[in-house]
Each structure stands twice: as C-alpha cells, then as structure tokens.
Amino acid sequence: MTIQLSRRHFLGASSAVAGSLVVGFHIPFASVASAQNAATQEINAWVVVQPDDTVVIRIARSEMGQGTLTGLAQLVAEELECDWAKVKTEYPTPGENLARNRVWGNYSTGGSRGIRDSNEYVRKGGATARVMLVQAAANDWKVPASECTVEKSVITHKPTDRTTTYGKVAPAAAKIAPPTDVTLKDPKDWKIAGKRLARLDTVDKTTGKQIYGMDLALPGMLNAAIKDCPVFGGKVKSFDATVATKRPGVKKVVRVGDSALAVVADTWWHAKTALDAMPIEWDYGPNADASSAKFAEVLKAGLDAPEAVVGNEVGNARTALAAAPRKIEAVYSYPHQNHATMEVMNATVRWTPERCEVWTPTQNGEAALAAASEAAGLPLAKCDVYKLLLGGGFGRRGAVHDWVTQAVLIAKEMPGTPVKLIWTREEDMTHGRYHPVTQCKLTAGLDANGNVTALHMRISGQSIVASIFPANIKDGKDPVVFQGLNPPGPEASIGYSIPNLLIDHAMRNPHVPPGFWRGVNFNQNTIYLECFIDEIAHATGQDPLALRRKLMTNHPKHLAVLNAAAERAGWGKQAPAGIYRGLAQGMGYGSYVAACAEVSVSPTGTLKIHRIVAATDPGYAVNPQQIEAQVEGSFAYGLSAALYGECTVKDGRIEQTNFDTYRVLRMNEMPAVEAIVMPSGGFWGGVGEPTIAVAAPAVLNAIFAATGKRIRNVPIKDQDLKKA
C-alpha cells in the first residue's frame, strides 16, 4: 500500500508523543503545532498541555549534542512550575514560525547562543502559561488567582482545600488573554533550572531508536549519492551517464548545478557505487593551482601590509613600540580544519510543483528553509523543513546549507518522489566550510623592568563573514575576526590592560570557503595571545601566572576563572615528576574560561596530556552537569584540532579525505578533565564553544614548560617535541 504524504494526516498527537518514527500516515517530525488533535491544548507558543498533565515544550533551537533542548526546557518548566517528569519537547517547524509571525523567534543555533539569546523570552513563555493556567483554575473556583499556589502542575487553593491539575484546566486556560507582564524568578529560587538534571534525550541514543537525518525512511523514497568538483570553483566538463544507469537499482543521473553530479538509485549503496564507476571529467577552473603553501605566502605578506582594519586600539602602539628599549616578536599560524561531524551531510526532499518539504539535520531551520525555497523555485510559504537530530553540528550545519540546495535540486528532477541525499565521508571532508586560515605577528614592547608597554597583534587571513555574510562587512571590517580581542564589554573582550595596544586585520581570502567552526576565531586568537603572553613571561623571567595577574587587575571576571583553574591544578606547587603545566584564559561567547594543562614529553618527543583543570563562568548555569560535558567535549574537539587538525590544499583541492588522513583525538589520548563551573550571576554566557579556545594554548604552554620548545604553528603532529 502506498500512502500519499500529501494527505497530511497526523495520527500521532505530536512528534514528541508519538516517540518513534512512524511513516506513512503523518509527516515525520511535524510538530503538534500543525496537528489537528483535540487531545492537545496549546496554552501559548511555548507550552502545550495534554489531559494527562504531559507538558510539551516547544524548542526553536536545534539539539546537536550540546544539551540545549534540555536546558531550554528547564527554563520554561521552571517558570511554568510543571512536573519535570512529564515534560516532553518538540520542534515547531520553520514554516510554522513564519506562518505565525516568527512567534518562536530566531532558529539559529550557533555562537553558543541557544540559551543566552533566548532565555528571557522562553522563561516568559513559561511564566505566561503558568499565569493563564492558574487563572483558569481560579475562575473555575471563583476565587482570586492570588490565593492559588502551584507546584508540579498541581494547582491548589488552600483556603477551600481544592486542587486541580494543568491537564484539567488547560482548555479553559487557552481561552484566557495572556498577561502582558510577568515577573521572572530570581535564579536563586530555581528548582528545575540550575540543577544537574539528566538530559531528556538520552535513552533512545542508547538503543538505536534515535532517528538522525541519515536514518529517515519515507514510503517510495529513493537514495542519492553526489560528487562535487574536487576543486572549489570548478565545473563538470563531461561524464558518461550510461555507465551508471546500467548498474543495478539506478534510476537517474542528475547534474546538480554546474559543479556536481548525483546518482539516484533504490539504495544509497547502489547510488554510491554507480557514481564511483561513472567516468567524470572536471574543469578545475581558476583555482586548479592553488595550494596551502601559496596561501601561506599571501598571508605572510599581509603581516606587514600597510593597509589593515583596526579591531582594538588603546594609546599609540606604534609610537610606543618604536620607543621601547626591548621588543619581542613572534609569528603564529592556524590552518584550515574540517568540522568532521560524525554524521555526514544529508537531507531528504520531496518536491512537487506545489510544495517542497525537507527533512534534515540543521542548526538553523530557517536558513535551511530559505535555501530550500530558493533551490525549489517556490515561495517560502510553499516549503517547510522538518528538523532531525544532528549527528554533530559544530557550525557546519548552520549558516550555509549547500547540501540542502543539492538535495532539492536532485529531488526536483523526480517530482513527487522523496529522495535522500547522503554524502560520503570523502565528499564531506573535501567540501566543507573550513576553519579560516590566518597568521598573526605579535610585537611587544617592554620597558627596562620587563613591563609590557605596548602590544601589536597583526592578524592576516581569511574572513568568514566576507564569504558568508558579505553585507555585514562594514568599511572593510569583519568584526568576528577579533573574537576574544575586543575592547572591554560583554562579548569576547580581551582580559589584559596594556597601555598601548593595536590589534588589526589584513583580510586575505583564499578560495577555500571558510565557515563558522566551533569556537570560530576565538580559537586561534587565544592561541596567538595566550602563547605570546607566555613568551613574554619567559623572556622577562616572570611566572606566567604572575604576569597575567599583573595585566588583569582591571578584568576581575577573566582573572577569577584563571585563578580558579590555576589554584585547583596546583600552580606554583611542585608537579609530579615529569609533569609540566601551562595556562590559558579568555572570554568568548559571553563566558569567561581558563585552563591549566598538565603534560609530559618523553625523551623521544612523545606528548601525553595527563590532566586539564578548566574553569568556566557562564553567568548563570542552567544545567551544571551538561556544562561539564560541554567543557570536557571542548577539550576533545580543541585538542583534536591542536594535535592533528589540518586540511591542506594541493592542486586546488583538500588533501585529507577521511579519518585516516584527518586524525582526531581518541579515548587513549583524552586527558582527565576537571571542570569548575563557577557562575557569578548577572549575565548569560554560552558554554558550547568558549572552552575550545583555551585547550590548545594551555597545552602548547605546557609543552614549552616541558621542552623549551615554542610551537607557533599547529597542528602539533608536525612538530618535533624532543627537548630543545
């Protein structure tokens, strides 16, 4: 029996309630928002209450492992005063958001913004729903709402000894005009938020039941594999489709734009092997000779170029440097890196001349919707995106939805048939949106007593914003380039006071497309600054912690996390034999982070990272055990980058094609991580990214302590660590 998806029957009360993948009678992962089901009662955009007191909390941001689904639900539930044991979640679709005047706000899940940007309005959503539910009970009892109390979805009127539940009053509550003003709780009174609660989405990830984009199956679905030109900017010259179409299961060969070819088949394995067998000739285009070595030359020239855009300036660094009796100079670099999400890019699309539907793991459903609409040739209102859990995001699935565009273009060639496009790992490795490549020259001026009187940081290299959001470049400036180096303020500010400071950027854009890569520019900027501060300390005979403390007196929050990490690690006390320590600190994504790494280096140069102590002040901590998980994970990701992460370009193409040539950290290399979560209150910082930035410099500084070798170019794998 073939079921027409277009019937749009929704038998499941909601995706959350239906629980598992049911295909055929309802659109998988459509939300209760679009479901016509009397059993559910929407109180407001954020809260749906069911008769059995199950509360479905709507989540606009995407879950990709970082725990935002649970954290956002905690914030809503806290204000709602519902029973946490009966909370479920669901994603409203971006199409529903547009149809309801963007009632769920921004869908973008990047920049560690999930909670910090939306905490206020989601808490208000919970508080508003609570007021309406309590008012409904009060109306029913004909008592003032102020005499009613609520706990765990049970409303009580003590004077008359009556109780009811959210499930019972929900239909009446939904008809009450929402209050225009609600008071949010003081975080010190939190009972659900701020607690070490278990995630809401763990169990299905341990049984194989969890459906990721790659796992989706729709009735009549076909599968596609794709090859894009190995060189960015190249095109398909010619191909012999008959070789592919003769193979088992193959339905069609599709040219996707100018640069890619796809094979559509009954199974993905048939599609992939047919595509592999198909002869293709490429026109490699203008970048056929590009290489990492050539990029490096271009970037090197930028280090001394007269033209640069200023990101942070205090006093007059050039004059002060010219007058300084002593100067220290160093040049650092940071390579291209691939996100390498465990789940490769994929999307399932069903296109008809009237409607385009997309099922995909995305960090920004609305951006995916925009990409789908454009590729489909249909207005936004005739498209929708059903978000599936991401097998990793790390920024790859946020700003650019190249794989969605491809999948729509393929599905367009087979109207009415759902087609699932899955990239190979090789395609994923060589068609990423890479961590930008930069170099940095740092020059410090010192007075006779070793005090830092001036610092010039010249960054030369790639701009993500110029590539992805060129309209946001104003007067040639990409503000994101200066992450972690900004003037004092709430975002990514530098933690040092230096009387004469100049931080500027000479933009140099190689053809390899850059992307937002977990931690983004905060990563390399923190290596540059924190390793150079360490260089200054050693060159002037100062303890690295003591020097930092001297420069950080006006930056108490930066200093507090640094002190916490250093003290817990035992800085200043004798380390175990053969163990050496290194420090790093920084502020990014609204949070303050610091780390102390303990490493050993064998006489033959083998590095072992034994232990990391990391401190984080995110302002408010919504779920400390998940923040600890993010901090730990940030070391796996950040140390993978520091140890191995490098995508090199030769003949215009990325050389690393899989995990054999693009190594990442594994269990045997993972250090013990002690995470200190120390929320000081008064601000909301992110936790998914900031810690990445301190991972590499803490280890690099510890390597210097162990060996006397200053590593200024990561990855470490290319360096000889034998004692200097």
Binding site: T206, G208, Q210, T267, T341, M342, G393, A629, Y637, R666
Partner: protein
Amino acid sequence: MPSLNVNGSVRQYDAEPDTPLLWVLREQLRLTGTKYGCGIAQCGACTVHIDGAPTRSCVLPVSSVAPAAKIVTIEGLSPDGSHPVQKAWVALDVPQCGFCQSGMIMAAAALLKEKPKPTDADIDAAITNICRCGTYNRVRAAVKVAAQGGAAKAAGLAIQHADGSTS
C-alpha cells in the same frame, strides 16, 4: 535469497555479495541504529557483534558473513535497553549528539564480556571509536560503572534523573 541471522532472527536480504554488511543492515533490514561514519573502518560507528566479536560492518562484504553467524546490532543488545552498558550510559548521561554511541556501546559490551573488570589500558585498547562531541571520559566512567555492577554514584556526577534517583 541469501539470509543473515540478526538479533536472533533469520532475515533475508537482496544485495550484491560485495555490499558491506552495514548497508544491508541499514537499507535492507532497516536497522538504522548502526551508523555510517567513515566507510573505512576508522571510526567504529558501524560496530556490531558477530558471534560476540566487535566488528566494523562498513568494510565487511555481506557475503563473507555466514548465514549461521550470529549478528547482534544495537537494537538487539537487549530487548528494552536493559543491558548493563545501556543502563550505565543512561545513568551517566553519556551521549551528546549520540551518533557514535551505538558503536561505543557495542564496543563496550564486547569488552566487558571478554574482560568483566577492564583496566584503563583495556578500555583504551578496545574502544578506539571516534566521538567528535568528546564523550570519552563519560564513556570510560560508564564502562567502569557497568563493570562494577551499575554503581553509578561512584562516578561522582550527581545527575538527577526524572524518576527521583541520583547517579
């Protein structure tokens, strides 16, 4: 039609002999808990048990698996998520994105069957799976919890579960 013994059932499939077992499991038998990560046996997301041995199914031609060989996938590790490894994983909230976790759990379950009290070195040697979210330390802690009969409190994470328990 050729067949495989998967999770205790004889299942027929229709695929060319050189098709990797992974894609037969995922596309023919609709057992999608076993993941494609790299296709070259590097990442371990495709780990299943064949006659108890942890095996990376993405490079194993399906024709090389004897019809009688007992294949167990994550879906068949236990009927209801009650395998000690699965319980330890839930107790410690191990998964982040979760994509690699089927493979991690299968590798851990095989290890514990062979070595009920694994050392850290045993864990390092047996679990070489890649996790990009960086769950390694909780994976290690959960393997130890499972080895110690489920004593999750010893891990010291103090996670509050919806049923009121703390682990």
